[in-house]
């Protein structure tokens, strides 16, 4: 691991820790810093409401770190697999697949906090995300052009949102409202159990992704060369579907369909560190995604939660993507 990459990783970790603290300290409720540290240390505080608020802020920060990191890693893997710098869980329709699953459940009247609600949401989200991914991977065997595949992914985004529009016909006002609010994206409101479940759905597949280090490195040369250096293509494809699908689906279930982080972060990281080794890229991209995830949330909180999360990620992410498209012809494989 090159020294510069290490320093970059450490800087990201420090920045994330700093932002988590900032997120704990600021907020609508004014809590003295001393009380915050006392609560984090496990001591009682003057105001019985404060521990609850601090716990909420802490959960929200951890959620932001997990969601940002998870989406970025999922984007990195998909970009390498599809050999396309514009791929990502959002663009390819994976998030939309999860949204459709969640939509069926919420519009059907089962909220996340209902009995077995969380599990129903996760299963539905997973089914949606994995079906879209499996369909894309199947089609990618026949479609050589990366742009064509992206267009198919975008069509799947439109298709799922159209199906959701149809579902609105049967939903009542309350359910429709709660689904629309979910769609704006937010790291807010996860219980300890939700957080634990999100953490395991992000961290376990991420650990599994470490088995993809060699295949991902090899895939940079394209599938034919990858096979010639020992990559088992079918097995790799299956592992990629499961890992990216589970990560993207669980984050979508708990935080809504968050756009742009998954596609923009791998781009930015590749500009900063030039190693092609995914043993370094995977953790660094996770950290960078976590950093962007929590930065975006800080902006949301600074506007007193008036700006939706997806508005902020779009404001940051869209310029990065436009910049990527301009650079595309120069540095990337022909699309």
């Amino acid at each position: 691991m090159a020294k510069a990459d290490k320093i970059f990783g450490i800087l990201l970790m420090l920045a994330i820790t700093l932002l988590v603290f900032v997120n704990l300290i600021i907020g609508e409720a004014e809590i003295p810093n001393s009380a915050i540290f006392a609560i984090l240390g496990g001591d009682a505080s003057d105001n019985p409401v404060w521990p609850y608020i601090v716990e909420n802020r802490l959960h929200r920060s951890i959620t932001a770190v997990l969601a940002g990191g998870g989406l970025a890693v999922s984007g990195l893997i998909l970009q390498v697999f599809f050999r396309n710098p514009l791929a990502g869980p959002g663009v390819l329709g994976v998030t939309s697949g999860a949204s459709l699953g969640v939509g069926v459940v919420i519009l059907g009247g089962i909220s996340l906090s209902a009995q077995y609600g969380a599990w129903l949401h996760i299963v539905a989200g997973l089914i949606g995300a994995l079906s879209v991914l499996a369909l894309l991977m199947f089609l990618s065997q026949f479609i050589r052009s990366a742009i064509t595949l992206l267009v198919i992914g975008l069509m799947l985004v439109f298709l799922t949102s159209a199906i959701i529009d149809v579902l609105y016909l049967w939903a009542n006002e309350t359910n429709t409202r709660s689904f629309v609010v979910w769609g704006l994206g937010s790291y807010e409101g996860l219980s300890q159990l939700d957080l634990l479940s999100l953490a395991s759905f992000v961290i376990i597949p991420f650990a599994g992704a470490l088995f993809l280090v060699k295949p991902l490195n090899a895939l940079l040369l394209g599938p034919d060369y990858a096979a010639s250096v020992g990559t088992k293509l079918k097995q790799t494809r299956l592992l990629i579907i499961c890992i990216t699908g589970i990560i993207a689906a669980s984050i979508t279930v708990y935080c809504g369909p968050i756009s742009f982080i998954g596609i923009a972060v791998p781009q930015l990281v590749r500009r900063i560190i030039r190693t092609p080794n995914h043993a370094i890229l995977l953790p660094i991209v996770f950290l960078a995604g976590a950093f962007l995830g929590i930065s975006a949330d800080l902006i949301v909180r600074l506007t007193a939660n008036l700006l939706p999360l997806n508005t902020v990620t779009a404001l940051i992410g869209a310029p990065v993507i436009i910049w990527t498209i301009i650079k595309l012809n120069k540095s990337y494989a022909q699309v």
Binding site: G230, N277, A279, S331
Partner: protein, 236 residues
Amino acid sequence: MLRFKDMDIQINGRSLVRTKSMELGSGIIALVGSNGSGKSTFIRTILGRHAEYKGEISLFEEPIGSIDKNELAKLIAVVFSQGNVFGDIKVRNVLGMGRLPYLNHFAQEKEKDIEIIDKVVGLLELENLLEKSFNHLSDGQRQLVMIGRALVQDTPVILLDEPGAFLDVVNKHKVMTALRKIANEQEKIILFSTHSFTFLDEICDRVLLIDKGGVKELSPSVGFENQVLTHFGIIE
């Protein structure tokens, strides 16, 4: 030793290339034949990427179908007619990809890997390219790097599928000379398919002609180029 016995490579049940018995040892072997004659499929079959064939293809007495993918990667390396890498990757790192079958899960290069890469860099004189981005190289440079990558893989067999297809005469000459140099210095089976016959006599030890579904070995006593051109009726 690459051995073929009663081999019949098929596509959708239709026979494409057949040979009763053939053995390939170290040296440079060219594979010629018209478009669609099955040269690429023949190469993909040896690589274990085309599974529809009858008979036996064995490498060092072991059927290629039964060799583990990672082990096969330590025996056979390949160069295709075009190489595109995804992203802005340095030539040094592209060469390093050839070591993947030997590396641990985290793809860490050990001293021995670095030694092998350095040796190939010296052999093909790639020193000035190492820090350059692969996708910014000319077609000829890219192809030399991909041949270097195959050498880094340190296999007894190297297959090349029309390595000169997108190269001009000068670059084609460079690539062919490099292959001859490798064959002279290392005992390898180098099998390449080609449409250009001008280099055949200069660099090849053997020439195989795929025609009408059969593999015919050309005699080395008469010029290879003349025989091929006569066979296709281009010269009398």
